[in-house]
């Protein structure tokens, strides 16, 4: 790290940027150069904040792509895995971030572009199956509506985490933190080694085994799947920790906090990831 302008942790904590940055990091926010003041504060205070967060069981990580985030590596700070919708949308956004065609717009994409990209890369059927994992039989119209809703919800969640920035109702600016989604495949074509390293460091976690599929609420009809869904992990990850707190759904706290947390109950049921330690 570069030389810090904060000599002691107390100096950093007394800075007016500390409370909002600390809260944002603890909520999973990724901070990059577009958050000019927060990024400047973290760059200046990194030397004193790193040991501070390490004592709290988390690592203040800086990536060469130009962003900071907090990675919990113990049981003192709660953490969660991104849901399957967030992962798929995040990977699609990363592909769009890497696509030179989007340079013309300054890295701005619409929700429709994201959906179209997902459908192109994954195939429409696979996308529908991935985002309607519990339904063996589904009504096409309802399933497509579910996909649109879950993608919109995933975009909202990714925006809250600093992977994208919502610049208009349907428009998002791609941010460097998206490169986290490319980490497992960054080094080589065989991602197994990289993935093992990332799992060991706590950056990623394997998705749990797919639960038993069940007949969904859609009209009767033949199953039209064309093979396994991408990221063949089935539904959202279930709580995996054996600790008593692990079974606790964090969503129950959402109404009690400082913020008005908007969350679709229906979507949350499927999409809320629940790994707590």
């Amino acid at each position: 790290m570069t030389a810090t302008k904060f000599v002691t942790l107390g100096d950093a904590v007394l800075d007016e940027q500390f409370p909002p940055v600390d809260l944002a990091l603890r909520r999973g926010r990724h901070v990059d150069r577009d958050d000019a003041e927060w990024f400047g504060f973290l760059r200046d205070a990194a030397d004193v904040l790193e040991p501070f967060y390490r004592r709290s069981g988390a690592e203040l990580v800086y990536r060469a792509d130009g962003y900071y985030y907090l990675l919990p590596n113990g049981d003192k700070l709660t953490k969660r895995q991104l849901g399957i919708a967030e992962m798929l949308v995040g990977q699609a956004l990363t592909l769009l971030y890497l696509d030179p065609a989007n340079v013309e717009q300054g890295g701005r994409v619409t929700r429709e572009q994201v959906l179209a990209h997902l459908a192109t890369v994954m195939g429409t059927d696979a996308l529908i199956r991935a985002l309607n994992p519990k339904r063996r039989k589904y009504d096409e119209r309802v399933a497509q509506e579910t996909v649109r809703a879950r993608v919109a919800d995933a975009l909202r969640r990714l925006a809250a985490l600093g992977f994208v920035e919502a610049v208009a109702a349907e428009e998002f600016k791609l941010r460097p933190a998206l490169m986290r989604f490319a980490e497992p495949v960054r080094a080589s074509a065989d991602s197994a080694d990289a993935l093992s390293r990332l799992v060991a460091s706590g950056e990623v976690a394997f998705a749990p085994a797919e639960p038993e599929t069940e007949v969904g609420g859609g009209p009767e009809g033949d199953e039209t799947g064309d093979g396994p869904a991408p990221n063949d992990g089935g539904d959202e990850p279930e709580p995996t920790s054996a600790e008593p707190m692990a079974a606790l759904d964090v969503s129950v706290f959402e109404d009690f906090g400082f913020e008005d947390v908007e969350a679709s109950t229906e979507l949350k049921e499927n999409d809320e990831a629940g790994v707590l330690e």
């Binding site: 909520r27 999973g28 907090l70 709660t78 953490k79 991104l82 399957i84 300054g106 959402e254 913020e259």
Partner: protein, 437 residues
């Protein structure tokens, strides 16, 4: 709605009412462009019919060499252009001889857009602004020298409306040219990266730097000169108003607004370009240079397409928001139900009987017996001995007792009569009843 806001609506309604439309194909546009270029090179202002057909034939030879029936098509094209007021006949000879035609202002404006690359540069802006400055200084001197409103109007307001306006319009036109140039650069950068990826980095950086330098120069010049020009316009406006020149205020205001718009354009474009510049530089540095073969994109595409191995999820911190419980308010204890122990019935007490009604009846009786025959006289006699606070309430009871003790009559229209200080009543006539004791 004020007059200024109403004007555009009225103009647009007028245009819609006239059903204006333009339908120009590529060949027609090329034909008009050829005429425009010929008029420039040969310094001619009009074309004979044969010259028009020759020009069309040349354009067809260049763009559609296989086309047949060129003369017939030329005739149709000339008619189309005339119908759309792009070509006008200027000789006025009618059927006497074949006509001479000229391009209209509409036609020249359209083709100039395609032919001229009038993008704003630091040099052209400096030149235009210095010319504008010199012209405004001269107009200010003219305004000072003029003595009458007519003189001031001719020497100042007229040039403001034409010469100065044209100069400012020239700057705005070049701004639009620069906007188009920027848009082309953005498309070009995108195409270069799509086509050459890593090899396009140097060229992309050159394009970025070129536009950035231009915008920086323009903004600096605009910031420096706009204020001076607006101040000059303000001086001219005051001088013209002092001399009573009509419309000077409006002409100066419009020009000031135009200049401020030009300055705002400069800072807005620089801000927008700055964001784009940063994004592209970051892209070149973090994406293109680190992935020169675009292998990362392919691997990620395979991952998303489901061709990779076991699935995974990113881990993020997710500390829930702090819990702030409500203030605890202890419930109010409800007292137990119990039977009242005290005696509900209060014991009877001896009291002095209220004899006021009897006394009042006796008084009324006495007054009637004394010969009073109207309600007002009875009321006055009955209430006047009472304390002032009781008189008004007693007046009603007097009427009730009087009606009981005597026979009451009243006219159809009962007049209001004064009975005492502050008491007015409807008058009755009273006759002592023979049955009453």
């Amino acid at each position: 709605m004020d007059e200024r806001a109403e004007e555009p609506s009225r103009l647009i309604q007028n245009l819609a009412g006239r059903a204006i439309a333009l339908e120009l194909g590529s060949l027609d546009l090329c034909f008009v462009a050829a005429l425009r270029l010929r008029s420039r090179t040969s310094e001619t202002t009009s074309f004979s019919e044969q010259e028009l057909v020759d020009a069309y034939r040349d354009v067809c030879a260049l763009t559609q060499p296989e086309a047949s029936g060129v003369a017939r098509r030329a005739t149709a094209a000339i008619q189309r252009l005339r119908d759309q007021r792009l070509l006008s006949r200027v000789d006025g000879a009618g059927v006497v001889r074949s006509g001479a035609y000229a391009l209209t202002r509409l036609a020249t404006s359209i083709v100039d857009f395609y032919l001229e690359e009038e993008a704003l540069t630091g040099e052209s802006l400096t030149l235009l602004l210095s010319t504008l400055h010199a012209s405004l200084v001269e107009l200010r001197d003219q305004a000072r020298a003029s003595t009458t409103s007519r003189e001031c109007s001719d020497r100042v307001v007229g040039p403001l409306r034409v010469t100065i306006r044209d100069l400012v319009d020239g700057i705005e036109r070049r701004q639009r040219g620069l906007d188009l140039q920027q848009e082309r650069f953005q498309q070009e950068i995108s195409k270069l990266l799509s086509a050459d990826w890593f090899d396009a980095v140097a060229r992309c950086q050159d394009l970025l730097e070129e536009t950035t330098t231009t915008l920086r120069e323009l903004n600096a010049v605009l910031l420096r000169d706009t204020h001076t020009l607006v101040t000059l316009l303000e001086d001219i406006r005051e001088l013209a108003e002092d001399r009573g020149a009509p419309d000077a205020n409006e002409a100066c205001r419009r020009l000031s607004e135009q200049l401020e718009r030009i300055a705002a354009w400069g800072s807005a474009r620089q801000h927008t370009w700055s964001e784009y510049y940063q994004y592209v530089h970051r892209f070149l540095r973090d994406v293109v240079r680190l992935d020169p073969t675009r292998a990362l994109t392919e691997r990620l595409r395979a991952e998303l397409g489901g061709k990779a191995g076991r699935s995974y999820s990113l881990v993020v911190a997710t500390q829930p928001p702090l819990v702030v419980p409500r203030e605890v308010t202890p419930p109010r204890e409800r007292p137990p139900l119990e039977r009242p122990r005290a005696e509900r019935e209060k014991p009877l007490q001896e009291a002095v009987p209220d004899e006021r009604d009897h006394a009042l009846a006796a008084t009324v009786q006495a007054v009637l017996a004394g010969g009073a025959r109207t309600l007002s006289s009875v009321t006055e006699a009955a209430v006047s001995p009472l304390p002032e606070g009781e008189r008004f309430s007693t007046a009603g009871r007097v009427a009730e007792v009087a009606a009981r003790l005597a026979k009451v009559e009243s006219a159809r229209e009962r007049p209001w009569t004064r009975a005492d200080e502050g008491i007015w009543i409807e008058e009755w006539s009273l006759t002592p009843s023979a049955n009453e004791k």
